[in-house]
C-alpha cells in the first residue's frame, strides 16, 4: 500500500463522481487546447495559402478585401479592372509573372477562377509547392475547366464531364446540398449553345423579365450560365490549401458567358464566339503578381519599389498578401482573447466543480477519514492525501482533455475545410499543452484546499460511532 494507491482506490470507489469531475476538467482543457491549436493552425494555413504571389491587385475597396477576395475567394470583387489598366500594370515592370484572374462564378458552391494557363503553371498554391495534375492537362482553350482535388472529390466529376457555371459565388461559399440537375453534367459539346442562345435572345417578350431570360436562377439572384457548356480537362492533386476548392477555367470562356448576359440586358445580340468579344467584355477582377527573385539582388527592395509604384494609382488597390494575413490575424487577436478567456472560465468552473464534489465527498467520507486517523494517519497527511487526490483529478482531466482536443480540433478542422475550404492542420504546441496541463493540476490542487482543510478537521471520535 502506498499513499498514491490509497488515493486511486478512493477515487475508484467513487468512480461515477470521479468520472464526471474529470470529464468537466477534460472538456475545459480540450476547449482551451483546441482554440490555441486551431488559432495557430489557422494562421499557418492562411500564411501558406497565400502561395507564391507577392502582390494582389484589384479594384476592391481595401487591401485586406483585395486579398480575401482575390486569393481566398471570399466574395466576388465588386468592380473590375479595365483591359487597358491590366496591360499597363503587367507591362510596366519586369514581373516574374503576372496572372489575370476573374472571379464571380461558381460551380455547386465552389468558386470558379477564370484565368490563363499560367495560373496552373506559375502560381504555387503553397510556397515551393506547384500544382500537380492528378490526371488530364492544363486549360488551353475557352470553355475548358480543371477541377481542384476538393471539387473533384465532392462532385465526383472527372475528365470529359461537362458542366454549367453559376453566376455568383454560392451561398456562403458552401456547396449547395442538392445541386440542380441543369447546372451539373450536361450531354452536349463544350462551348456556346449558339442556336438556343440566339433563339432565346431573339424572343422580344423575355426582355421584360429583366435578366431572367435564358437562365436557371439560384438563390440570392444567382443564375446558371446554361447557354454554355464547359468540359473538364484536368483534375489537380491535393495541395493541402483552400485552393483545393477551386474550379479553374480559361478566361475567354468566362468573358464570353458574361458578355452574353451584358448584351442581353442591353438588348444587343449575343456574341457567337470568343473572337467576337470586345474590349469592354474582357474584364479582369484581379491580378496576381510576383516580382523577380534573383540571387545577389535585394528582392525585398524590388518588391517594395513595385508595391509603392502601384499604390500611387488611385484606380486600383494593391496588397501584399502576407502583410494582409498578418493584419487579419491582428484584427481577430482580440476575438481569440475572448475565446481563450471563455475557455479559462470553463476551466475555472470545472475546477470549482472539483471543489464542490470533493467537499461533498468529505462529508460522506468522514468515517473513512476517522478510520485513517485511528490507523495512525497524521492530520497533515490527510491534508496531503486530499490535495493530491484533487491534483490527480486535474491531471486525469488534463490528459483526457489533451486527447479530446486532438479529436475536437481535427473535427473542427474537417468542418472548417468543408465550410470554408481553409485547410488547417491542428497540432497542439507542446509548450502550451504542458503549461495548460500544469496550470490545470495546480488549479485542481488549489480547489482541493477547502475540502482538505475540512478533512483535516474531521473529528475522529464522533465519526467512529456505530452506524444505526
Amino acid at each position: 500500500m502506498t499513499d498514491l494507491r490509497l488515493i486511486l482506490k478512493s477515487l475508484m470507489a467513487r468512480s461515477a463522481s470521479t468520472a464526471v469531475t474529470c470529464l468537466l476538467i477534460a472538456i475545459a482543457v480540450a476547449l482551451l487546447l483546441s482554440m490555441l491549436s486551431l488559432r495557430e493552425a489557422g494562421r499557418r494555413s492562411f500564411t501558406r495559402g497565400v502561395g507564391n504571389a507577392h502582390l494582389v491587385v484589384s479594384a476592391d475597396s481595401s487591401p485586406l478585401v483585395a486579398v480575401l477576395n482575390g486569393l481566398f475567394y471570399a466574395n466576388p470583387p465588386r468592380a473590375a479592372i479595365s483591359e487597358s489598366k491590366v496591360i499597363e500594370i503587367t507591362t510596366s515592370f519586369p514581373w516574374a509573372w503576372a496572372i489575370p484572374t476573374q472571379l464571380g462564378d461558381s460551380f455547386r458552391g465552389f468558386p470558379v477562377i477564370a484565368t490563363t494557363s499560367q495560373f496552373l503553371e506559375d502560381f504555387e498554391p503553397a510556397p515551393g509547392e506547384p500544382w500537380v495534375f492528378a490526371e488530364g492537362r492544363n486549360i488551353e482553350r475557352p470553355f475548358e475547366v480543371v477541377l481542384a482535388s476538393g471539387v473533384a472529390a465532392a462532385t465526383g466529376l472527372g475528365i470529359g464531364d461537362r458542366l454549367h457555371l453559376t453566376h455568383g459565388m454560392g451561398v456562403g461559399g458552401a456547396p449547395p446540398p442538392a445541386p440542380a440537375v441543369e447546372e451539373s453534367m450536361v450531354a452536349s459539346v463544350p462551348g456556346p449553345d449558339v442556336e438556343g442562345v440566339a433563339e432565346e435572345i431573339m424572343d422580344p417578350h423575355d426582355h421584360d423579365h429583366d435578366h431572367d431570360h435564358g437562365h436557371i436562377h439560384a438563390d440570392d439572384g444567382e443564375h446558371v450560365h446554361d447557354e454554355v457548356v464547359f468540359e473538364v480537362v484536368g483534375v489537380l492533386a491535393p495541395s493541402g490549401t483552400h485552393h483545393d476548392r477551386l474550379v479553374v477555367t480559361e478566361i475567354q470562356g468566362a468573358w464570353f458567358i458574361h458578355a452574353i448576359d451584358r448584351r442581353e440586358l442591353a438588348g444587343r445580340p449575343a456574341p457567337g464566339s470568343v473572337e467576337q468579344l470586345e474590349a469592354a467584355d474582357r474584364l479582369i477582377t484581379g491580378i496576381l503578381l510576383r516580382t523577380p527573385v534573383r540571387a545577389g539582388r535585394n528582392s525585398a527592395a524590388i518588391l517594395q519599389g513595385a508595391f509603392d509604384r502601384l499604390r500611387r494609382d488611385p484606380s486600383i488597390t494593391v496588397a501584399s498578401p502576407s502583410t494582409q494575413v498578418d493584419r487579419l490575424f491582428g484584427i481577430v487577436a482580440s476575438l481569440d482573447a475572448v475565446f481563450i478567456a471563455l475557455g479559462g472560465g470553463i476551466l475555472l468552473s470545472g475546477v470549482i466543480s472539483v471543489m464542490l464534489v470533493l467537499w461533498n465527498s468529505m462529508e460522506l467520507r468522514r468515517r473513512q477519514i476517522a478510520v485513517l486517523r485511528v490507523l495512525g494517519c497524521p492530520q497533515r497527511r490527510i491534508l496531503g492525501l486530499v490535495l493530491t487526490e484533487s491534483a490527480i483529478i486535474g491531471l486525469i482531466g488534463a490528459i483526457a482533455g489533451g486527447f479530446l482536443a486532438v479529436g475536437g480540433a481535427s473535427l473542427a478542422a474537417g468542418l472548417l475545410a468543408i465550410r470554408t475550404g481553409v485547410i488547417v492542420s491542428p497540432s497542439v504546441d507542446p509548450k502550451s499543452a504542458v503549461l495548460i496541463a500544469a496550470g490545470t493540476v495546480a488549479l485542481a490542487a488549489l480547489a482541493g484546499v477547502a475540502p482538505a482543510i475540512k478533512a483535516y478537521r474531521t473529528p475522529v471520535a464522533e465519526n467512529l460511532r456505530p452506524l444505526d
Binding site: 473513512q368 490507523l375 495512525g376
Partner: protein
C-alpha cells in the same frame, strides 16, 4: 490486581469533560504487557470514550496517560499519531473497513502509516489473513461475510505489531456463539503476537473468557450522559 510485568497502558488522575457536560474521572487504571482485560459496563457508560482517550484520539483535560511508555499528553499531533500507528491496534463493533478496498489493502493501511516498506505489506497482510482464515486476500471487503469482515478487522488491528489492542464492543453485532468464537480468536492472536488486549463489552457472557474483568464503574466516576 497489578502484576509485576511492565505496563503497556497507565492512566492516572484522568479527567475528561465533554462540552455538553458528560465527564469521566479515572483515578488509576493499568494494563500490563500481554494482559487481556474485559472492561465491562452498560452501553453508553463511557467505555468507548476511555478507549479513545487511551488511543490519543481524544484529549484529556487533565491527568496522565502513558501508552507503551510514552506520555500521550506530551506527544501531540504527528508524534501521537506515530505512537498509535506503531503501538495500538483498534477493533470496532462495525469493523470500519475501507469499502472498495481488498482485505489485503485494508490490512496494509496501518503498515503504511507505521512506516513499514510497501514491498513488505502484502506478505505481512497475507500471513495475518491466512492465520485468521481469510483464504483470498484479494477479495473486496464489502463482498465478505460479516464474520470474515470482522476477521479482516482483527488482522488490520494486529498488522503493525501493536503493544496493545483496544477492542470496542467487537461482538455487539454477533450472536452469542459467534461472539464467543470471535473473542477467542482475538485473544488467541493477541497472545501469539504478545499484544495486550483491552476489550469493552456490555455482554456478561464474555466475562468467563477473561482472567481479569474490570467493571467500568469500579475505575471511573462519570456524570452526565455520553450523548
Amino acid at each position: 490486581m497489578i502484576s509485576d510485568m511492565k505496563s503497556v497502558l497507565e492512566i492516572r488522575g484522568l479527567r475528561f469533560v465533554r462540552p455538553e457536560g458528560f465527564s469521566i474521572d479515572i483515578p488509576e487504571f493499568i494494563l500490563s504487557e500481554g494482559e487481556q482485560v474485559l472492561l465491562a459496563g452498560p452501553s453508553g457508560c463511557g467505555k468507548s470514550t476511555l478507549l479513545l482517550l487511551a488511543a490519543g484520539l481524544l484529549d484529556a483535560d487533565s491527568g496522565e496517560i502513558q501508552l507503551a511508555g510514552k506520555s500521550m499528553a506530551d506527544a501531540r499531533g504527528g508524534r501521537r499519531d506515530a505512537i498509535r500507528a506503531n503501538r495500538v491496534g483498534m477493533v470496532f463493533q462495525t469493523h470500519h473497513l475501507l469499502p472498495g478496498f481488498t482485505a489485503r489493502e485494508n490490512v496494509s493501511v496501518p503498515l503504511l502509516f507505521g512506516g513499514v516498506k510497501p514491498a513488505e505489506h502484502a506478505a505481512v497482510a497475507d500471513a495475518l489473513l491466512a492465520r485468521l482464515g481469510i483464504s483470498d486476500p484479494t477479495a473486496r471487503v464489502d463482498r465478505l461475510s460479516v464474520g470474515q469482515q470482522q476477521r479482516v478487522a482483527i488482522a488490520r488491528a494486529l498488522a503493525a505489531d501493536p503493544a496493545v489492542v483496544f477492542a470496542d464492543e467487537p461482538t455487539a453485532a454477533l450472536d452469542p456463539e459467534n461472539a464467543a468464537k470471535a473473542v477467542a480468536l482475538l485473544q488467541e492472536v493477541c497472545r501469539e503476537r504478545h499484544a495486550a488486549l483491552l476489550l469493552t463489552s456490555h455482554d456478561p457472557g464474555l466475562e468467563s473468557a477473561f482472567s481479569r474483568v474490570v467493571r467500568f464503574d469500579e475505575i471511573a466516576q462519570t456524570s452526565g450522559a455520553v450523548g
